[in-house]
Symmetry: C2
């Protein structure tokens, strides 16, 4: 195999597919990136058997062929290359030479045939969503995904396509995040559980581009995401997701409208006294037009008052401050609405049209 | 005690004195920052008994007094404060209230009397040097300071004042760094060993300012550095420094002039194959006008050629690439001169006037 391509194309491609290289594996070949050079194209592939990423890079194939190179070494080498045309060439002993001008690297590689490529997925009812929208909806729900230790379903995000709506739900036993977006077309109904790791890596490699689309194909076993010259295939989590719709009551006793920044700064400060091994709830007391937030631990105490708009009853309720902060971090809105029922019932943060709903369970205040 | 000052002044002051707070100590009081409020001034002090830093901050003293607050907590709290006027007040139980508008923090503190302030140093023959110059000369020599495990002298930098010249020397058994600067006046001769830790922290807190001076006073036991409203006192290391002048031969068999950037990039790349547990030397071969650099380890190999200007013999010599890189990192020059004798003798990198001299020992090539 012999190819020539620019350093930048190589760096971009390696950086994209590296997201599917597992950190710990007993199978050496999975730690590799496959370079496949055919007459028409050069592709890079990584595949940890759950998540596979393939991307095409611009360049010239001089001799067709394919080799697998240890991903970490390839990534380190290409980033240190001069910004110029790079030649990658393999001899019959699978020693690979990466060269540029007067610089020559020699590293070992494996035959490309040892590498398991990404599975081919049947494309049916392909859904289009803009890159920016998909990136956004993932990043605004992924934080409350569970570890899967208690229930493996929770390690996935619930992706539902219904008519012209896409909905992502994540939950971890203490909180639920739901985001909905409008699609440009009406699609047949789909209901799948995508592993959190796959969504998280996808959101990292999708460019910030509102004008270009990601195509999503969903089968019973796999999800396929295509954008630019990149293809991502993820195995789905088998099973039925926890039904959250019944938990989504719209009754409330107290509605509070508050400046996101003021609340964020205050909850952020409260973390000073609520560190690992010293976890204390933040106590929110709402009286008339004032929200009083306080935390007290062996490290010290904090007390702060914020102006709010209130409808309904006064309330006193406690939360894990980190859970509140996680929601506020992903809010673009300057003002947010908080809905309370009583001190034992969940807090809802949502907009009027319920394009987003965040639920956080309170902690018991003794 | 009760004081009022701006958040910014408080943050800056705490950040400066924090450099003298020890990371690990059995004496709780050393982990504190002393706030001392008198009618005329507010000072912050930290002191780990080897290094003491005191800085005056602008603000208003409402009630005189002094308290000691755990440095980490104080630093965390002040950075999280809103950008506004801050009130710090202590009650008779040494509970400290830090407040700002509707925000109140309460943390515990200790009586200021428990705290050992920085020693008072006699100021004699005070040396003036611009902030920028001192910062520069420290940062360009500190990297080759020894650990002090083998020889405690090596954990210090040799600071010599002679006539109108200041010289700093550091060494660690594998290499020597020497930098000289011209002072504006002639001073009585001084010869002291300043702990590396003190110099390193000083270089971090001195502002980048070529127009303002640092005043240095040296006694037999202490060094005193004064700049802006900050005073740093460091205990000196007792003993005689290793005499390096005899090692500084100016004979050479090969002189090479090379682009610093080209050499830096190449040596940096070679580190890919010379990682922990895989330490291999970089082999430099100079033939005519070409410098060939190569490294070979179980991870792979690299080979690169760089154009150079050469006087004298061809040579083949090996080095720990990190030691070469450390020198190149602190070079402002676009071209550097390298002086070799033979493959067993040290490499010197120096300028014509010897305002800097870096010596690196070679490694044996089998």
């Amino acid at each position: 195999m012999k190819i020539v391509c620019s350093k930048q194309n190589l760096v971009n491609g390696v950086s994209i597919v590296s997201k599917a290289v597992p950190n710990n594996t007993t199978m050496n070949i999975l730690e590799c990136i496959l370079i496949n050079a055919s007459k028409d194209s050069i592709t890079l592939t990584a595949n940890d058997m759950d998540l596979g990423i393939e991307t095409m890079i611009e360049g010239e194939t001089i001799i067709e062929g394919s080799i697998a190179i240890e991903a970490k070494m390839l990534s380190d080498v290409v980033r240190k290359l001069p910004d110029d045309d790079i030649t990658i060439e393999t001899n019959i002993d699978f020693e690979t030479t990466i060269s540029c001008g007067e610089l020559v690297f020699r590293i070992s590689s494996k035959p490309g045939d040892d590498f398991t490529g990404i599975p081919s997925i049947e494309k049916n009812d392909t859904i289009s969503v803009s890159m920016l929208t998909l990136k956004d909806i993932i990043s605004k729900t992924i934080f409350s995904i569970g570890s899967g230790d208690v229930n493996r379903i929770m390690a996935g995000a619930h992706l539902i396509i219904k008519n012209d709506q896409m909905r992502i739900t994540t939950l971890d036993g203490h909180r639920i995040s739901i985001r909905k977006v409008q699609l440009k077309n009406i699609y047949p109904e789909k209901d799948v559980i995508v592993p959190g790791k796959a969504l998280s890596e996808i959101s990292k490699i999708i460019p910030f581009d509102a004008d270009k689309d990601v195509s999503i194909s969903l089968t019973n076993t796999h999800a396929l995401f295509e954008f630019d010259t990149t293809v991502v295939v993820s195995r789905l989590i088998d099973g039925n997701y926890i039904s959250v719709d019944k938990m989504m009551s719209s009754d409330y006793e107290t509605k509070v409208t508050v400046s996101k920044k003021n609340l964020f700064d205050c909850v952020d400060r409260s973390l000073l006294f609520s560190k690992e091994g010293n976890k204390k709830p933040i106590v929110i007391e709402i009286n008339d037009t004032m929200m009083n937030l306080s935390v007290k631990s062996s490290l010290g105490s904090m007390n702060e008052k914020i102006d709010v708009k209130k409808q309904g009853k006064d309330i006193r309720i406690g939360f894990n401050p980190k859970f509140i902060l996680d929601v506020l971090k992903v809010m673009d809105e300057e003002e947010i609405d908080m809905y309370f029922v009583n001190s034992k019932a969940p807090l809802y943060i949502k907009d009027a049209s319920e394009s987003y709903v965040y639920m956080v369970l309170p902690v018991n205040l003794s």
